[in-house]
Amino acid sequence: MSRQESVLYDAQGPKARRRTLIGTGVAVLVLLGLAYLVVQRLAERDQFSMELWGPLINPGNESFEAVWRLIGEGIRNTLIAAALAMTLSIVLGTVIAVARLSLGRIGRIPLIGFVEVFRGLPVVVLVYFGVRVLDDVGVDLSGLPGGQVLWGLVLGLTAYNMVVFAEIVRAGVASLPKGQREAALATGLTPGQTMRIVLLPQAFRTMLPAIISQLVVVLKDTSLVTFIANYDELLSQGESIRRNLDNPIQTFTVIALLYIAINYALGRLAQYVERRQSRARTTGGEAEAEATDGIEGAPVRTGS
């Protein structure tokens, strides 16, 4: 943060400091005013009543236990779906990336087409294909542990994210110094071995922050299944609570906070891993590590 400020303005003199102080005062007033408006609006509509909040925050409330059991299950199911989709996407993404890197200029064309199609579709449509269409055309996933909807969701998310990973891995391999590959080949490794033993492990290391960031995207996208079928992930459980207690604002505030907490933690983890790696790579070059702050090393975290 401190670094980025210095890009845009000098250390402030007395005049500028006074202006900043005034600006701060005005901004605080405006923001407080906005906050007050929101709070007042909510209070006017009785949105702070314990009748609405009680089941969520008061352990003594008769519904409290049931509500949090639902939420707990929801978090577990969300994490299960995200973890499965993530693992599958990494595996398939790596396969696609390797195929793309090893195929010739012409052989690569159908693969690029494939990647572009999956990248161009809304995740919700792909999840629909996974959950509904696969079932309709006779692909039976119900025998798998966790059931048909879970795996349909996982496949839908995988279809989208594997191509994102393929891009991450490809960029990772491409970012390695040329010498790595040349040296590996020179020691007598086959191209396949070079990829597997030398290039991929290094690429994964540099791509770890991007992978963690993408996990946030996958985790959020699990909630799309709500509109398609019944899988008790966090948002669906929230819907179930709202249906019974009819307190949309309160329930969704809690649900949103839970998502934010989980995803924020993941985002920090990605940043931490990235800083550590940059420091390890550029010993004595702290500046470079700092400069990437905020990008989180992930050109891919684009909202979906």
Binding site: D46, R132, F227, A229, N230, S240, R243, N244, D246
Partner: protein
């Protein structure tokens, strides 16, 4: 706004009533159909298979007050749920051995075709299009489509209002029969708001986001009775909605079995109604309708 206040209370009272009806037993059930012990069925029929397995999967709604509603503790209650229990009992399957599956309007045919459920009892209107993909037993109830508005609204008196007022909006559930049957009355597509569940429509009516909600009268009556005078029904029924039980296409024997079971358990049928949808003000205990021919 008042709609919210009473929702949970109403749900809980249904639980209490159903619990009372069975005399304080562990299983909350309104229907006192004795579970048949080792019933005999012709080999190879669906009934024999299910009786043999000792359990069955039933699709119902989880968000339909008085027909199929899931409480916070995961328990299901409603008329559809009780009907399913009556049929299961005749197959020798106790209520606790039924695997319930949530089947919202949009997936019902698919889960039957895919064999994921043995039957669907989910406010499921019998119509020709659906009958091409699945077989209907029943009907076990005859509903009709109506319109629900805010109590203070005196302008809307029937579906024709929406033809004359192209700015008025009406809400229904995507994939439901009522959502299609209201279309001829609309001046333009934009008047129709579609959600996944009726409770979202009721919410939107309560907050003034839509002017009316349309679906089968019994479903609307459920919302009216919970709303504490906030909602009311207007106009006549403008369609007939016989509710059937969806089973796999062409399973005539199972269909006939269901029809016979219902006919033989009139008392349980009435008890099921009175413990669930019968709680709604303004409803009358129905008589079991004549079953359709099984095809």
């Amino acid at each position: 706004m008042t709609f919210r206040r009473t929702a949970l209370v109403a749900t809980l009272s249904v639980v209490a009533l159903t619990a009372a009806a069975c005399g304080g037993g562990d299983e909350e059930t309104a229907t006192d159909v004795p579970v048949a012990e080792a019933p005999e069925f012709e080999a190879g029929t669906t009934m024999a298979e299910l009786a043999e397995a000792g359990s069955m999967t039933v699709g119902t709604k989880y968000d339909q007050p008085f027909f199929g509603l899931e409480g916070l503790g995961g328990e299901l209650e409603g008329f559809d749920v009780e009907i399913a229990k009556i049929i299961a009992a005749e197959l020798g399957i106790a209520p606790e051995d039924i695997d319930w599956e949530e089947t919202p309007s949009s997936v019902r045919e698919e889960v039957i075709e895919g064999g994921e459920v043995d039957m669907v009892v989910a406010t499921y209107t019998i119509n020709a299009e659906r009958a091409e993909r699945i077989t209907f037993a029943g009907p076990y109830y005859e509903a009709g489509q109506q319109i629900m508005v805010l109590s203070e609204n005196d302008e809307i008196t029937g579906p024709e209002y929406f033809t004359e007022n192209p700015d008025a909006t009406i809400c229904s559930v995507r994939g439901s029969t009522p959502s299609e049957q209201i279309r001829p009355y609309l001046a333009n597509e934009g008047q129709l708001t579609l959600f996944d569940e009726y409770s979202q429509c009721a919410d939107s009516l309560s907050t003034g986001q839509v002017d009316a909600v349309t679906t089968d009268n019994v479903i609307l009556l459920g919302f009216v009775s919970e709303s504490d005078g906030e909602f009311k029904l207007v106009g006549e029924q403008f369609t007939e909605e016989p509710y059937g039980i969806g089973i796999e296409k062409g399973d005539v024997e199972f269909c006939q079995f269901i029809n016979e079971t219902l006919a033989a358990n009139e008392e349980a049928y009435v008890a099921a109604w009175e413990a669930t949808a019968g709680q709604i003000e303004g409803t009358q205990t129905p008589e079991l309708p004549e079953p359709n021919e099984c095809v």
